[in-house]
Amino acid sequence: MTAVLEMRGIGKAFGTVKALDAVDFDCRAGEVHVICGENGAGKSTLMKVLGGSYRPDTGEVLLDGEPVRFQHPAEARAAGISIVHQELSLLPFRTVAENIFTGMEPTRWGLLDRRQMDERARSLLDRLGSSISTSALVADLSIAEQQLVEIAKAMLVNAKVLVMDEPTAALDDHDAHSLLKLVGRMKTEGVAIIYISHRMPEVMAIADRVTVLKDGRHIWTRDRRDVTINAIVTAMVGRELQDFYPARGATEPGSPVLEISGGQSRYLRDINFSARAGEIVGVAGLEDSGKGALARALFGDSPLAAGEVRISGQPVSLHSPRQAAAAGIGYLPGDRKREGIAPRQSVRDNALLTLQAMAPALSSPNGGARSRQKVDQSLRHMDVRAGDFGQEISTLSGGNQQKAIIARWLMRNPRVFVFVFVEPTRGIDVAAKAAIYQTMRALANEGRAIVMISSDLPEIVGVSDRIVVMHQGRIAGELPAGAEEGAVMQLALGVAAAATGREMAS
């Protein structure tokens, strides 16, 4: 079999971050080539290069041995590359047939040929084993049904290369099984299929070859019969542990500061969670595992629908960020630019944000606890490096911005008992990371509970006193300090039952 698609030495950088570094990849007709990798390993970037959304900085793409350079997704699609996108690209207020044919509507005498659209859409959906009505509005479909429409849309063109980016992520087992059968059928039709998945059993079931990417680099490509789930997981996480993590607390953690029992929401199921004084609890999980939803629930942004939350033993209601702040939760959002800082305001004003928000409406904005001396003292205590605290906070480095946000909460001392850090070091350079970790440890040592929600595995393993792993909206298991990255990954992928024997989410 010859390779239909060959990608040679693909490199792509965003600013100084290398998303892809000389990646080689190929796919043959009639094979399923699975790409595995952690979040941010470069899988999606590679597929965006293939699909014409990104132009590579280096390297070349060959289709049937001919070099191609796509300037626009339209060209990739015309060349026979079909992509089932991870984020749905459907039109909610258009019918199923209209969605399937977006951009490729058949015409008859210059007019839309709706009959042909309906008939071909019907036969595509039949081929997918689905009885969705072609005239139903997409907004009325379930997520799984929408996913099928997305696949039908990709199958419309006679694809030489079909890319499926986590197509089963939104499907339950039954639908996922049907989809896998379909992939098998398309394979026999001679389509080259690139399949991205986090679900290991699925990978082992359908792959002919497996490629692992990590940090934008190609780790290896092997035949299915030469790999095991363990080998894949090890390759996905395998990296050196850097030793800039601070020493763990010398003393045993104290009594629980934050407790959630029976937490439920649209995204979360059966959340029983606690964080004790002096403890850093790491929450790990893949994208959409519910760890982000847990963070938002803790800060009242998307509150729990059921369940009880206690802080220092007192039941509290967390139905808005204001209530959460009043209850003594300090929140450091992951998307610092959008949710953390007011970029055009001064460092000082940013540090004052919460105090101002919680203060009585008619109080002096710079009086008492909010005086300039108090702010500056707090910023200096956090070692925020700025020429002048009056300058715009957007001019500071990510690490200094993060410290200013911590200062914002510390100004409410002693009324902050729990800190929730979301992706605390995303977009922060290595040197500043160590400082953030030390700050977190210091905050914990002063008797607070720290919840750290992170996609960065080494960080989770290196900093946490206890690791809670989430999978599909549930807590999949708990691991002690210093657990192996592989063990965390296995829980996050849902391939291993929790050490504690907790019931697994299916």
Binding site: H72, P73, E87, L90, F93, E105, L112, S131
Partner: protein, 328 residues
Amino acid sequence: MSIDILPAGRARRGFRDVPVPVVVIALAAIIYVTAAVITGQTNQISFAGLTGLLQRTVALGLVGLGQTFAILVGSIDLSVAALISTVAVLASYLMQGDPGMIVPAIAACLALALCVGAINGGLVAYWGINPLIATLSTGLILQGVLSAGFTYLGGRVAPEYQALAYQGLFGVPLPVLLLAVLALVAWFVLAKTRFGAHLYAVGGNPDGAKLAGLRVERFVLAAHIIASLGACVAGLYLAARLQSGTPWIGRDGIYDLESIAIVVIGGTALSGGKGGVIGTIAGVLLFASLDASFNMFGVDAFLKQVLRGAIVIAAVAVYAVRNKGHVA
């Protein structure tokens, strides 16, 4: 080999089954008839009364048709009012009462609208400027140039041209027929052509449309050109109706904001990708029958604005409920 692994799309809910335009037109009819009956002016419910009502929908309806295209692709056009004034003034200036200049004047106005639409569309689609800002600015520029230059731009349209606005065919005024024909064409383009389907795709999900291979920018540009052409035709109509254009004709008619209002009342989502011109026509009918009813009751014109505002809010609120959170 069809295995039913998924249920067919959920059954539509009853309230949502009724198309928006039907509801809006029914509402307009109820208001109009009720007002006529209560005030005893039942002669308003006659052919003549109704054509009079329809005549009052023409200018706003024409702008609204164009505005629908801009809003469908997720943009908006605030420059229409200024463009209407410019076109009306330009038409009467170029004609100076000379029937031979009718065609050149119309051509010049259409060319101007094409340019304005292309500039609006270019700023929004290719430069990525927020459509509110971009079209507000082109509108201000047009209005400024017009106000500064109007002292030199006197004139009046040719009598033959003016007659077009007053003549009729089988008792139906020509402008009403024009609106009906253009509405039909617009509906046809949106519902029956690939171009129309692509406009919906671009408005409904720009990223998805791009990934599906559409050149999104071109459709935004095209929609803005259509919006400007709609305003141009409205301006030409007003010039004929009023003999000559004044630089305030568009602003005084609040055509920018009211055209947006009728589009929204017609069920077109401000976020784009949903709606159509039938709804817009229904929206303008509702506004016209409200106006007529207030006239029959002899109510203050300012009070009329209060009710118009309330209707827009009510419409958006109702659609929000219908769409479970997809607010216009």
